[in-house]
Amino acid sequence: MLNKTLNLNEEVFLQDSELKSGRDGFGEAILKLGEEHEDVVVLTADLEESLRLTPFKKKFPDRFIETGIAEQNMASMGAGMALSGLVPFMTSHAVFSPYRNWDQIRLSICFSNANVKIVGSHAGFSNSPDGGAAESLEDIALTRVLPNLTVISPIDYEQTKRAVEEMYKIHGPVYLRICKEPTPQITTEITPFETGRAYTLIEGTDLTIFTTGTIAYEALEAAKVLKAGHKINIEVVAVPTIKPLDKENIIGSAKKTGRCVSLEEHQINGGFGSAISELLAEEFPVFNLRIGVSDTFGESGTYRELKDKYGISSHHVVEAILNMFKEK
């Protein structure tokens, strides 16, 4: 079922398949990047352990900067460091950075095209017990509107590691959206990853699900159910780079299947689904349904409970698609 050419994890659907979190991937990857490149520095606003930065701090104490709980200062300082030739990775929870410091990200970083890497962890519902106040469901909207900024939302742990390597190669600001919750491993060490590329995880003919971030697994699960139970062949296209979009592959898939659904762990307004809709509306108008959080804040609960309550689990995707096919 999975696209063979991508060397994906064939065990992803197994019940006992290992779950891993994006933040662990980030912590490992940033340590490796620090070993490879002397100009990499890491800033954090009192979230060292949360972002898995302790190994980096121990190995490179002079290149680890604790800014205290001051995300605005962190962002503008990151710009100053980047303009002086360093490559700062500034880290926090997504709900603080790029929220609290959006103005600083806009003016100090993006307006100067400063080479700052913004890492927002605990995105989506992955900070679930902390409640709606701590759930980052607007960060894609906040970042994808900014000129010069690349926006990457990896679909799992392994891809997060690849994304960290790739974002270093971009000279300019990048936002990396990662999650706390351990999720199924879709990709492997040898799965290709390039910034700006969308990847067809499952090939299909009847409908395309475009998805981003770790919620991508729910899209795979939905495709599996729809094929096995309803003989509907779903194409699943992962779009880890939200800005710039891989127009060619997205439009290509829409042309092939003629019907599209977007799935994201974010508000449907202004987020990933909006980006897909904007592209399709202009380039290839086609039936398109956005699945995500519908203009409401979250609350406390387990990750699974929140995905269920707010309508972004695989069964919601299955229901939505079955309704579409019923109406036909």
Partner: protein, 287 residues
């Protein structure tokens, strides 16, 4: 008050400052909008910085060891642009392009469009953090450069200023000099009426800054304070520069109304005449 022995530098720098003020008035007249009060008030400091203090070379504007100058209150950029042109970073004829379409002289400075501009500024309160980042980068990279940051006083009402004010002493950024334009005005009135900043010296000292207060129009004091900052170890220096907004143009001096209003043609001519004649002391081209 720290004083420096600078011989005839003081005279030279004062004359440069006066020329810069003339340029500022001409630029604002040409642009039709902009912020005269702060720009005129900072002319002496800009002249002293660029013609005595900063280690910068217009022929090598990206030298990794150059001193960095960060302008936080970007709206006073006419004086910054005039100074960069005077120093030779770009031709003076470009000054006429201020605030015009397709110009490198944006209404607030943008990094990367002109040599000599080290940051983007506009939304207030960000420059001190940018400067702290550069100063920290110098420490990490073991580079000898110093970082100078100019902020307004009104922008110290932004919370971010105090985040940076906490950070810089904590990281012992003794290569950072913060020059505060204490002109007591902001767009809506006097700072102490809008949102008081006093006691500023005590506030900064309690944040562990080394604080020097100067007359921001006394060239010897400006140079002396910057030299003293160089010798301060283990903590950054804040220079509270008491300035007169609109300095050099009598009808603008001390008046917050001139924060963001440009003079009419007649007013500009009057201002230029006053500046060129050193307030009537000598005959000017405008007589």
């Amino acid at each position: 008050m720290p004083r420096a022995s600078v011989n005839n530098d003081v005279e030279k720098i004062s004359l440069i400052a006066n020329n810069l003020r003339e340029e500022v008035v001409k630029m604002l007249l040409e642009a039709g909008s902009g912020h005269p009060a702060g720009a005129l008030g900072m002319a002496d400091i800009f002249a002293a910085l660029y013609f005595k203090i900063l280690n910068v070379d217009p022929k090598n504007p990206t030298d990794p060891d150059r001193d960095r100058f960060v302008l936080s209150n970007g709206h006073i950029c006419p004086i910054f642009y005039a100074t960069l042109a005077e120093k030779g970073f770009f031709p003076k004829k470009e000054l006429k392009q201020l605030r015009k379409l397709n110009s490198n002289l944006q209404g607030h400075p943008k990094f990367g469009v002109l040599p000599g501009i080290e940051n983007s500024g506009g939304s207030l309160g960000q420059g001190l953090s940018q400067a702290a980042g550069m100063a920290l980068a110098a420490k990490i990279q073991h580079r000898p450069f110093r970082v100078y940051c100019v902020t307004g006083d009104g922008e110290m009402q932004e919370g971010q200023i105090w985040e940076a004010a906490m950070f810089a002493p904590n990281k012992k950024l003794d290569n950072l000099t913060w020059i505060i334009d204490r002109n007591n005005i902001q767009i809506s009135g006097r700072t102490e009426d809008v949102m008081p900043l006093e006691n500023l010296r005590n506030k900064l000292e309690s944040f562990n800054w080394y604080v020097i207060e100067i007359d921001g129009h006394n060239i010897e004091e400006i140079i002396g304070a910057c030299n003293m900052a160089r010798s301060v170890s283990q903590r950054p220096t804040a220079i509270i520069a008491h300035t007169i907004p609109g300095k050099g143009v009598e009808f603008m001096e001390y008046k917050f109304e001139w924060h963001g209003k440009v003079p009419s043609k007649e007013q500009a001519l009057k201002a230029l005449k006053s500046l060129a004649s050193l307030e009537g002391k000598i005959k000017s081209d405008y007589d």
